[in-house]
């Protein structure tokens, strides 16, 4: 059994994804789902953990490492993304779906981490941040001594 804190926003996000999937099935090709612009305000994250570390992954296609600002304060990870607006002249956009502008995503981490050993890797537009857990937060095997 897994005991986990209840995260209402997670469940909301899950619900919305399901809705998006349903609605995407109805909307004819070429028509934009009218709320797409609203949904485009923050990059999505996946978070998982191993006994040693917490991993946070974001899909940030087209991003260079200097447009990225990652910081850890306590058990909060902030990822700031800066994508400049294209400045091309004399062109017509037929589709414009890729996000531009600046985005900030704050992730509440499930355990204390060692901020000095955080590592981030950007490969093929996928950002993976490895946050080693602080010593106190690592799982420990408890020895049971029998007295009888």
């Amino acid at each position: 059994m897994v005991l986990r804190s209840w995260r209402p926003m997670n469940q909301l996000a899950q619900l919305r994804r399901e809705m998006d999937r349903l609605i995407a099935g109805w909307v004819p090709d070429g028509l934009e789902w009218p709320w797409t612009g609203m949904l485009r305000s923050q990059p999505a994250v996946n978070v998982w953990e191993t006994p040693e570390s917490i991993f946070v992954e974001l899909e940030v296609p087209g991003l260079k490492s200097d447009q990225l600002d990652i910081s850890v304060v306590g058990d909060q990870l902030s990822v700031k993304i800066e994508r400049p607006e294209p400045t091309e002249q004399d062109v017509t956009y037929h589709r414009r779906e890729r996000p531009v502008g600046s985005f900030l995503r704050v992730v509440q981490l499930p355990a204390e981490v060692d901020a000095n050993r955080v590592e981030a890797e950007l490969q093929h537009g996928v950002l993976t941040i490895q946050l080693p857990k602080a010593e106190a937060a690592k799982p420990r095997k408890i020895q049971v001594t029998s007295t009888s």
């Binding site: 997670n10 919305r16 994804r17 949904l39 923050q42 978070v47 899909e59 296609p61 017509t92």
Partner: protein, 131 residues
Amino acid sequence: MASESTITKTPAEESTQAEHTRSGFYYRPNVDIIEHPEELVVLADVPGASPDGIDVNFEDGMLTIHAKVPPRHEDVEFLVGEYGVGDFWRTFHVAETVDAGKISAEYADGVLTLHMPKAEAAKPRKIAVKA
């Protein structure tokens, strides 16, 4: 609520022309399609795709983009799982007359860029008006 929302990945539309041989979930990449006087430029976000797993096909005015994305986390239980990982697939009808032989593609940082030069007949021409 807008500030709480996240960028979502859209499932690929059901393809009516053909079935995929590989089962699994396909995502629809976000694209920008930009028309320049001389060419059409297509930018498609396909994060996680490996450069040799990208297939671009242009046939009968249909442009198909298929980017294979190798699975990144198997046997992982997500604490937060806001997006799935899978191949990207999208098809377009290209109305402009494109010189199919001169289409070029490059891939960097998870973004596929296609340059589709217009055929000579479709390029804009400036007509001089004589006084």
